[in-house]
Amino acid sequence: MSLSNLLGDWSKYRKTHEEGGFHDYEHMWGMVIDLNKCIGCNACSVACYAENNLPVVGKEKFEKGQAMHWLRIERYWDEPDLGESRVSEYQHHGASYVPMMCQQCNAATCEPVCPVAATYHTPDGLNAQVYNRCIGSRYCSNNCPYRLRYFNFYSYYEDAWPAPLHMQLNPDLSVRDKGVMEKCTFCVQRIRTVKDKAKMDDRPVMDGEIQTACMQTCPTTAIKFGDMLNLHSPEKAQPTDVSQLWRKHQVELGKHTQNKQNKDLRGYRIHEGLNTDPCVMFLERVREV
């Protein structure tokens, strides 16, 4: 690519949604996370550890940023420090919690940089990671604006599950070895199970039939998961919960800025302006004052 070409195409490059990946999607799995309801309690995160064979790394490795929490609860303060007189002495409005898992971007920045195509887009609209193919270049992690990819710096199977803790490991998915990148899969093993069952019953996958581990345990029902694709198959004329919420909040896939008719609607996607086209919509936190 010459510089002149690059500059010539700059506006196109920056403004339109990246073409690529699958266009004949079977599903488009998406989420809605309501920050009005999220209480930051960690249930989702621990459920994820249980479901997805995530190793506990210990304090030293955690300090180095090697924790493997596919789903982490980020916590922010409005004004963490004291400042001029206008800044309040206390955190009067509490904390802001954001559960962050792989955003399953449709124009994922991690995908094109993988030298071995270990991360790619599935016909389900998922950003998949093929562990067998991964060579551990970590380019994907470097390119993820959300910092949601986790690298196995060690062979955790050696000591992260001393017997009999290893008996809890979920046989539906692997324990990843040293040198492999991993991340949230939207509980692809659960998706797989339900899809297989639906296929055997010769019927479409029903809305609500698949629950990710985080969604299932969330005490306040802040997390919703479902198919956002209801255009292609006539049997899905009934829009799913999640797709209805996206529509209601006037957030559309395939855009880097939303042209909302009602600007006050709470739906937004994080780092949308980077044109990553994430499949997770957040609903803004609400405060009284």
Binding site: L35, N36, K37, I39, C41, N42, A43, S45, V46, A47, Y49, A50, V56, G58, K59, F62, A67, H69, I73, E74, R75, Y76, W77, D78, P80, D81, L82, E89, Y90, Q91, H92, H93, G94, A95, S96, Y97, P162, A163, P164, L165, H166, M167, Q168, N170, Q216, T217, C218, P219, T220, T221, D264, L265, R266, Y268, I270, E284, V286, R287, E288, V289
Partner: protein
Amino acid sequence: MSLNNIKRRKFLKIMGWSGAGATLAGCDMPTTMTVQEGKEEVVSYLSPEEYVIPGVGVWYASTCQQCAAGCGVHGRVREGRVLKLEGNPSAAVNAGKLCQMGQSALQTHYNPDRITAPQIRSNGALSSASWDEAYDLLKKKIGADSGLKGNRAAWVTGNVSGHQSVLIDAHMEALGSSKHYTHEVINDSVWQAVSKDMLGVANPRVRIDKAQAILSLGADFLGTWGSPVQNAVEYGSFRDSPRGALIQAEPTMSLTGSNADLWLPVKPGTEGVLALGIANVLMSNHGVKNIPSQFKSLVKQYTLEETSRITGLTGEHILFTAKTLKERSPSLVLAGASAQGHENGYEIVAAAMMLNIVLGNLGKTVEGGTQLPFSQMMASEGNTRDLLALADDLGASKYDVLFFYGTNPVYSAPEALKIKDGLKNVGFKVAFSMFNDETTAEADLVLPLASSLEDWGTHVAAKQGARSEVSIQQPLMEKIYPETMGFGDIMLSLLKMQKVDAYAGFNDYYSYLRNAVNNMPGFMAKNGGEAWKEAMQAGSLEVKGRSLNVSSKAISIKMSVPADDAQYPLTLIPSARLGLWDGRHANLPWLQEAPDQMTKVVWDSWVEIHPRTAAKMGVKEGDLINVASEQGTIKAKAYIYKGVNQDSIAIPIGQGHKGYGRYADGVGVNPLQILNPAVDKKTGELAMFATRVKISKAGSAKDKLVRMGGSETQVGRKLAATISADVFERTEGDA
């Protein structure tokens, strides 16, 4: 009274259903039971059935035992192993949801530090033994011929209910013992005492979902107060449009506080004044006239200015709170740990309860709940007055034999109570335990328990949901360690040892429970008397109870606030967390590595210090701090933030274990150690939040305070965006 009647009564008592009373008298009850009935062979539910397909998970219903809330769970079992727990959608307590502690029950079960065989103390140290040796020792020490006087034996447990409670009672009766201490650090016993006195019921059902405004004085209802998952489920509806407002007043931010619309850093011990001050504003600004006469003079005394001065809160915030409570009806006022843990804790909670009466919340957001008909099965709820009583009685050498189950007083009692020394006065201490913890380490005989996922049980949650239930706990897999034993099984053996004939017919706890459930009053008509299968599938038995009503009864109180102390200028807040809880979950690696909700610290203890206090001392985050009370000094790293009152410091409880396994040992400190043994004068509860301390620098720490995330703010990025409630109502009202 006919002979049949007597037999029936006795039968009901053995089976744990006594107390059913007249309401259930009409139902069809068997009056006798053959021995044969009790001798059912346990057919392992894991022996291959048609529906067990290799590679396909099967779900079984059970009840979570990670705290006393009694959430229903579904366990996924595949190839004989339990792999995952989910909430049971049909459970009234938790409606299919589960917290991080519930998720982590798997790690309690598969924990690598479990006790795998009985242990007997010989030559000062505990060493492994066989069950035969254990039972021989028990027979020698407590058997019918041991010469043990019943009043020289007692039970010490955590929260316990259902048939486990029935068997403990039967054992005590057989021994002739009358003392059962129930100790829990995390409790709402002052709230219960006040509810009993002012509303007529000890456990009113609070309706977070129905409230339009909540003022919580230190009740961390999303984390550690009441039934946390049930509360959080209701909180989900509370935040739907019309969205309820949450105001939390507490000296250090709890999980609930961090979700509040307005968080008020009230000075510790002045929560009662705040409640009275709010009543004052309601009276003077909002025309509220129904202040109970017993409270009137107190309410008049705490004017806005006076309340503001004492509590350290701005008048604006107090006015806003009063206005919100008044305008958004029905409201709900709660009081929890940090409000009740003072020498006048009862009065503080009573002042809060008075607001519920004044605001007309009774019957709306504070309901009477349901009285279950089975008094024998009801939960013995833990508290700290039993801990204090135990300390006294140990000091007075009252006991020769103690049984410990589900509580760890050596860890959780302030050192001033000298529990560990007191235990030396007890000749024979039996610990029923899954783990070697601080209390088990003092025992003379350790009986290794099966995990909650390997054992049978029934539970009656103190905080029942919309429907009243007896929850069923069933094993989700075979025992990992063959030498461990279910609690009920051991209890039946102990009862047989005491030659209690009534229980002789039951080979094991399973057959006892099955018999009990099938003979549950009121269930006979269903399924041709076979309630068991239904109970196993549902994970619970629905019980028709008597609806209770709340009726207000004002009481007279006085109000006082803690005096300043120049030598010990700060108040120590030993805050509790959904996670490590009272320390029992410190041996679970998932929970150690789950960042603390507010501070995001992992694998450590810390001292929460307000930036003003820290600046005065020149302390930075991670610096080591000495925290000294009259009772002793502990050292922990500083965490500086604006979520703690300037007159307080906070140290979360749960860490600082010695001998609690590889994940807990050597991590952090235990602030409970240095608490003063002061008590709430009315209820006798430990005043846990009233200990004064001084702090000083202790140099730099060996290791860092490790926490998740590098940035405390969003640095202008739209990560967690916020809008006002007005806009929310405008766009999503009627949603």
